[in-house]
Amino acid sequence: MKFSEEFRDKHLVQELARRINAMAPDPATIMEVCGTHTMAVARFGLKTLLPPQVRLVSGPGCPVCVTAQQDLDGYLALGEQPGVILITFGDMIRVPGSYTSLEQQRAAGADVRIVYSPFDAVEIARQEPGKQVVFLGVGFETTMPATALAILTAAEAGLTNFSVYCIHKTMPGALRALLRGGELQVSGLLLPGHVSAIVGAAAYDFIPREFHLPCAVTGFEPVDVLLGVEAILRQLAEGQARVANVYKRAVAAPANPQAQRIMAQVFIPARAEWRGLGQIPGSGVDIRPEFAGLDAKVQFAQVLAAVPPAPATPCRCGEVLRGVLSPPDCPLFGTVCTPSHPLGPCMVSSEGACAAVFRFG
């Protein structure tokens, strides 16, 4: 058993689809909060298995997509500094900033490297003592513990040439802000499996309690996604709202205690800027002052203060991220904005709503 193929079993998928259709659900709009769900839904053609009155819309859970232009411009400005190595996950490399991208900077001679984990960035700092290595800390709770551990590792090693440009964002807090603002016109939420492995399924209990919306925590295989959709539709039919966990093989109700401890040791909650959603208090983190030597926003404060405000762009990714604009309804979609020439992050990221629709329809 590898816990992937079994959950792609054609017969089980068909049986779940049959059961969902047999429920004859009322019209419902279900938001898949996480970009990995967006990709799974598109890749496996799951929308075609659902009754036409059940809509799946993409949410704000693609870390690349929600990165604010201004935050990216700041990181790009560091790449202009002599002796700096920028280190990033691969999916950030083509995201356009206001004036350039990491890919364009690298083509122009900047030292930009892609890693699989923040620990690789720490290793590069060890090997390049004459350079300043700046890791782009991006992602939700799934990646935050890894960044925190990299900072602790660098601190223990006494590295003075490693820092993190921290634009991590936190998921439950952002959902609360979005729901409070009445931005999301949805009937239920498919909650992200991997974030939930860190924060625990109980972290979302406020959603049914405060907003009376059915939720399901689920994984990323077709059977998982359909089980999640079924759990939400069932709650809707019964007038219930709770957090169903259909991904119990990987997610428990409580948070992972080690992850909580490590994140609390390194980060403090902070206001974060989300593309298309604006500033949300408490939806991001800053690096604690005791690790200021490893905080790129402190180490390069002067450079960052000189970065001009991001100019307005015609990109409407913000509306896509709120689920109020379908990708094909964006006038840029597929015309001037394509995966090979993306104007906005939803088209860049393989987990972006626009890239998924462009590739899989």
Partner: protein
Amino acid sequence: MRIIEINGTVATTEVDGVTRQARLDLLPEAELGDFVLVHAGLAISRVDPEDAAETLALLRKLADEIQ
């Protein structure tokens, strides 16, 4: 991915012949042979084989009852 070696807090994990290093800081109880979700070089969760088997068995039973 399955843990095939543990060296202190670092595990070697394997799936389909591909191996990857993963830190085990979040899963101090992890053991050789465990299946774990690995994200950005960090094992973030143990996959519970019993729960997975239970879910699949239930679904298969329901599917069989229909036919």
